[in-house]
Symmetry: C3
C-alpha cells in the first residue's frame, strides 16, 4: 500500500468540493486534446533512426539538470550521477548504480514539479506501479529497461501515442537541419519542425563566436565576415528554416536590452569582434541591436519572435570549468523590461506583423511590467510560467498575477520547453490541470460563467499556442 | 439562459462554505454604507448642468483607457474605438459601430476587473439583463441610451442614488475651480470637493511648464516667475483649495525621490527652468525638493498628502505622438521607497500633523518596504491596491502582504480613483466584497474573532478613509 | 463571551474540512516535540540567577520593538511606552500606566503575528482567560504579576516547561561568555549555547569599531591592531566559542556582497580604519572580504555560517539619535544575492564542510534567486521566513515560493530568532501549525502521500534544524 505509486485522478485540483467538481469537468474537456509543443529542446535525431532508448539512467538522469542539480545540492557528487567531466576524467559508468543513488534521494523531490513529472512518466509511460525508493530501485530499473525495448516505446511510437500534433526543436542558424530533412524524407508523418535560435551567432562574447560565423558563411554561401554579409547570411538562414517548417525564432539573453544602433556603429563593433577585441559594453550594445534586427526580420518574414531573458548562466564556475554549460547552475536575476524593451516596442510594438513572446523567471515583473505591457502593445504576448516556475504553484501564480491586467488572450497557452521527451505528456497534463483548477475557482466564485470557462480552458490548452505560434 | 447577465449575490467570496457564510454576514454590514470617494478623476462639470450622459460609447468607451487598451492590445486600431488623433485626422464617429466592436471583443475581459465593473454597472445602473456580445450589442446600446435619458440617470441623481457621501475631484493649482463654485451656488447639496495636484507646476521637464507658471501667476495674483513667488503662489492656491473644501494634495511622480535642497540651489534650478534650460538630474532634484516643500506645507495647513509613484508614463511613443497622454500606455516600474523617501520621512515622518499616503503599483514593495515603513512612521499610511492591482486578486494580495506587518490601521480603506463616474458603485462593491472575504478567512481560521471582523470591515469601508482624508 | 480569550485548537489551519483534518493529524505529530532554538537573542543572564520576571510591561513591552513600533506608528510617543531616551530625559516610569496604553491600542494587532503570539503567550504561559483591552488591562496586569512570581514561571522553569532542547544566544567575539560559563557551572542542565556574531568587529564604519578591536585584543590575548593579529584574534575567539558549545556564526549585513581581496588590500583598508579614515566603498570591500574570511574559517572549523542580509538599519534618524538602535526603525531593502554571493559561492559553495544559511526579508528573491541557488550549491541552505515574514501568511508564502525549486530539504526548519523568551512556544507553535497546514494542502491535492507528509512535518519541526545547526 504505502509503496504503491498512485496517480490520483483529481491531483492538483483544489480539494474544496465545489471547485474540484468544476475542475474535473473543465479538465475533461482538454485532457485528450492533441499536444502542441511549439518550443522545446528535444533532439530530432531520436526520430531519424527511431532506436529504442537505452536505459532509465541514460534517458532520465544524465541529461536532466533539473534532476541532478537537486541531488548535487545535497552533496551527491556530479560524478556519482554519471555526468562526464570535460577533461575526460572518471565518472560513474554503472547505470544501475547511478539509478540506485537517484532512488536513494528521490524523497528530495517531494512537492517539486520534477517529482510530479517523474511519477506521471513512470506510471503512465513506463507502467511502473511502485514508488521509487532505495528498495524498489533495481526492480524498477529492470522494468523500465524491459519496457523501453517494446516497439510502443520507441521514439516515433511514443510521439504518436502522446498525441503530439506538432513539435518544434531549437536549432542554430548554422545547423543544416539534416535530421529534420531525413524525418521528412522518411515518410513518417510526425510533424517535427525547427526553430531559429541564433544566440551563438549574436553573442560576440562567446569564445566560439568567430567559428560560428565561419560556419554561418559556409552553410549560407554568403561571406559573413562583414556586417552586411552577416545580416544577409542570417536572413538567408531564416528563409531556409521557414522553408523547413519553422514558424519561430528564439533568443536567450542575459537582459532584454534593446537598442537601435546606426549601421556604422553596428559595423564598427562587428569588425572589432571579428578581430577578437570586444568591450563588455560594446557586446551589450551589439546584442541589443541584433534583437532589434531580429524584430525587423520577424516583421518582414512573419516568424514569431521569442525572448527568454534574465538568467545568469553557469553561475558556478567550478562546475562550468569541469562539466561545461547546462549543468543546473543557471540562476534567475532581476530584470527590467520597461526600459529595456522600450526601443524595440516603440519601433515595432504597434506592428501586427510582429508577434513577440516574452518569457521571464523574475516573477516580480509579472504584474508590474509584463502584464501591463502585454495588455497594451499589439505585438507583444506573454509566455507562460517558465523554468523553475513551470510548476503547480508557479503556474497558478502566473495566472493570478497576469490575467487581471492582460487577460488570458495576451498569453500564449502552455509551452513545455523540455529536452526530456518522455516527460512531455506529464508536463502538459500538469498545466491543463492547473488551468482547469484556476478557471474552476473563477467559476466557483462567480467571476466567469461555466460556458466561458469551457472556452477558455480549450483556448489555453490548444487554440492559443496554435494561433500564437502560427500553426495552421 | 447562457446569455443572461447575472450578478451572483455571493460573487468574489470564497466558495468554501464556512468562509462564504462569514463573508456574507460581514458584507451585509457594509454593503449599504455611504460611499467615501476621497480621490478620483470625475469631471465636476457633469454636476453643474446635470445634462444626461449621451450614449454608452461616449460614456463607457472613449474616455476609458482601461477598456480600450485591452482591445488595442489585440489589434483593434485606436481609431475604430473613436479615439481622436491630435492632428484631427479621421476617427470612427459612428458610436453604434464602436459599441459593436467593443461587444465583439468583450470576451477579452474575462477575469479582469474591467469586466467585473462593467457587468455590475450594466446590470445595476442600466438594468441590462443580457450579456454583452456580438449578438446583443445593438439591443443593449439602445437600452442604455433609453435609460440614460431617464431623470434618475442624470449625474446628480446618480450621485444621490449611489449614496456618495463625498466625492473629491483632482485639480491643478491654476484651476479656478469654477465648476466647484457653481455646484456650491446651485443649491444642490451633493458634496463635491477639489484636491490640489500641482504636478504640472512642479514637473519642470514638461514642455508646458512655463505656461502653467504664467497661469499660476495669473490666478494667484503673485508673480510666480521667481522661486520665492512660485512657492508663495502655491501656498496661496492651497489656501484657496482648502477654502473650497479640499482636504488633500496629490503628487504623481516617476520615482518617490525626495531631497532637501538649499534655497539657493532650488532657486538656481528654477531660474534655469524659467529659461528653458533643464538638465535631467536638475529636474529630479527639483521635483524631489518640491515633494519636501509640499510635505512642509501639509504640516502647516493640515492637508493630507498623497504620492502616486512608480509609473512610466506614455511608454508608447507612437501612441503618445498621435493621441496624447492617458491612452493606456502607462507602465509600472520598479520603485525604491526606502532610500527615496528617507529625507522626507526623516524630516517630517515623526510629525503627526503630516498624513502622508503612499501608493504603489510595484507589489514587490508591499511587504518589503511599504508595510514596514507604514508600521513605524506616525506620518505615513499605505494607500490601497492601485490601478492594475485595484482588482479581485490584487486587493487580496495587498491585504495579505501588508496586514501582518502594518495592521489594517496603517492603511486607509478603499479609494476608487476613477474618471468613470457610473463605475463608482461597482468599484466600491468589489472592494467591500474582497475585504469581507479576506476578513472571513481570518475568522474561519481563528485568527480574529467575528466581532473584531465586524468592526474591521466597517473601518475599511467607511471609517478609515474618512479619518485619513480628514472628512468630518 | 465576547471578552473571553480563546485559543482555538484548529487555529491557522485551512477551514476547508478535508485539509483541516489532515492538518490536525500532522500537527499532532509535532506539537509536543522538543523545541530547537538555534538562533535568537535571549539574554543568557536570565538563567544565571533565575530571578522572576518583574512585570508584564518590563517583560513584554519595553524590550519588544515589534510591539511598540506599531503603537508608535499610530502616534503613541515612545516615552509613553517607557522607552528610555539616551540623554536620560524623562520617560514613563509607571508600568501600570504603560500597560494601559498598550491595552488601549491592542486592536492594532488584529491579524498580526505579534497579536497571535501575545494571545498564545497570555493564554498558555500566564493563564489569562480574558482578552486584553482598555477594560481588562489592570486586571490582566495584576494576574500576570501574580503568575510571574510563581516558581514555575521563573526562567529556568519556563525553559524546562517549554520543552526547549537547546537554545542559542547571539554574542560578540569580545564577549567573555561569563553567563554561559556560570550556567554550565551551576549544575542546571538546560542547554544554552553561544553563537559567534562578529558584526561589531567587522563593520569598520561603526564608530565604536576601534574600541571593539581593543576589547578583542584584550580577551584574545592577541594584538588585534594589525590585520594579521585581527584575523588570528577572530580565529581564536571562534575556537573559544566552539569550546563553549557554539556551532554557528551569524552575520548581519546591509547587502550580501562578498569579495576576495588580496592580503595587501585588506591590510591597507584595515590600517586606514585603525586611523579612523574610512571611505564608504573601502568599508563595503572590507566587509565583503571578511564574509569570505568567515566562510573560510567555517570550512576549517565546521561552524554553520548564517547571513542575515538586506536591512536598512535605523532608518529613522530622530529615533536613532534619541533612543538608539533596535527601536523598530529597521526597514528591509531590495537585495541581489546572485551577483553578491557569487565570489563566496564560487570559492566555497561546492565545499560540503561549509553550511551557509541565507536569510532575507526581500520576498521577491525567494523564487527568483534563493531557491535556485539553494537548489544547486551543496554548501547553501535557505533560512526560514524572517522577521516581518515570520508570520502566518509569510511562512506560507515562503513554502510556496521555495519548495518547488529547492525542496524542503534545502531549508532548515523553523528559527524563532527572538529576544522575547516567553514568546518562544507561541512562535514554534505557529510555525508548526503553518507547516502542517501547508503539507495538508499538498496531501489533500494529491501532491504528496500522507506518510510522506508525516515525515516532512517532523523534518521541518525538528530534524532539519538539528542537522543544519549541527546539534548532535
Amino acid at each position: 500500500m504505502k509503496d504503491n505509486l498512485n496517480l490520483h485522478q483529481d491531483r492538483y485540483f483544489s480539494s474544496n468540493p465545489k471547485e474540484k467538481k468544476i475542475a474535473q469537468h473543465l479538465y475533461s474537456k482538454v485532457k485528450n486534446l492533441p499536444l502542441i509543443c511549439p518550443h522545446g529542446h528535444v533532439n530530432p535525431e531520436l526520430f531519424v533512426e527511431n532506436m529504442p532508448f537505452p536505459d532509465p539512467t541514460e534517458l532520465l538522469v544524465i541529461p536532466d539538470h533539473y534532476l541532478f542539480r537537486m541531488l548535487y545540492s545535497q552533496g551527491v557528487p556530479m560524478e556519482s550521477m554519471g555526468i562526464p567531466p570535460l577533461d575526460g576524467s572518471e565518472t560513474e559508468k554503472d547505470h544501475r548504480r547511478i539509478w540506485q543513488v537517484v532512488a536513494d534521494h528521490f524523497y528530495l523531490f517531494r512537492g517539486t514539479p520534477t517529482g510530479m513529472w517523474l511519477k506521471h512518466e513512470m506510471h503512465d509511460v513506463f507502467e511502473i506501479k511502485k514508488k521509487l525508493n532505495s528498495d524498489t530501485a533495481m526492480e524498477i530499473y529492470d522494468r523500465i529497461c524491459e519496457n523501453l525495448r517494446k516497439q510502443e516505446n520507441h521514439p516515433r511510437e511514443m510521439f504518436e501515442r502522446f498525441n503530439i500534433e506538432i513539435l518544434s526543436t531549437t536549432d542554430s542558424p548554422e545547423d543544416t537541419l539534416e535530421a529534420h530533412q531525413k524525418i521528412r524524407k522518411s515518410g513518417w508523418n510526425g510533424k517535427i519542425i525547427p526553430a531559429f535560435r541564433p544566440d551563438s551567432s549574436i553573442d560576440i562574447l562567446n569564445r566560439n563566436w568567430k567559428k560560428t560565423i565561419d560556419k554561418l558563411s559556409e552553410v549560407s554561401g554568403i561571406d559573413c565576415s562583414t556586417y552586411r554579409g552577416y545580416i544577409e547570411g542570417l536572413e538567408k538562414r531564416r528563409a531556409f528554416f521557414k522553408e523547413m517548417g519553422a514558424t519561430t525564432t528564439d533568443h536567450g539573453v542575459h537582459s532584454p536590452y534593446t537598442v537601435a544602433l546606426g549601421k556604422t556603429e553596428a559595423e564598427r563593433i562587428f569588425n572589432k569582434a571579428q578581430k577578437g577585441k570586444i568591450l563588455l559594453d560594446d557586446a551589450k550594445q551589439f546584442i541589443g541591436h541584433m534583437l532589434m534586427e531580429m524584430a525587423r526580420m520577424s516583421v518582414e518574414d512573419g516568424m514569431t519572435m521569442q525572448i527568454h531573458a534574465g538568467v545568469y548562466r553557469n553561475h558556478n564556475k567550478k562546475i562550468m570549468d569541469r562539466f561545461g554549460p547546462d549543468m543546473g547552475c543557471d540562476i534567475p536575476i532581476a530584470t527590467n523590461f520597461v526600459n529595456n524593451l522600450k526601443p524595440l516596442l516603440n519601433r515595432y510594438g504597434n506592428d501586427r506583423n510582429l508577434n513577440l513572446i516574452i518569457f521571464t523567471i523574475d516573477e516580480s515583473t509579472y504584474s508590474r511590467e509584463l502584464a501591463p505591457l502585454a495588455g497594451h502593445y499589439p505585438a507583444m504576448k506573454l509566455g507562460p510560467a517558465w523554468w523553475f516556475n513551470d510548476s503547480r504553484e508557479g503556474m497558478l501564480r502566473f495566472r493570478r498575477l497576469t490575467t487581471e491586467t492582460a487577460g488570458i488572450y495576451n498569453t500564449v497557452g502552455f509551452i513545455d520547453d523540455t529536452r526530456a521527451f518522455p516527460s512531455i505528456p506529464a508536463r502538459h497534463d500538469l498545466a491543463r490541470r492547473i488551468d482547469a483548477r484556476y478557471l474552476a475557482e473563477l467559476v466557483a466564485e462567480n467571476v466567469i460563467d461555466p460556458n466561458e470557462a469551457e472556452e477558455m480552458v480549450i483556448d489555453l490548452a490548444y487554440r492559443l499556442p496554435k494561433k500564437n505560434y502560427k500553426f495552421k
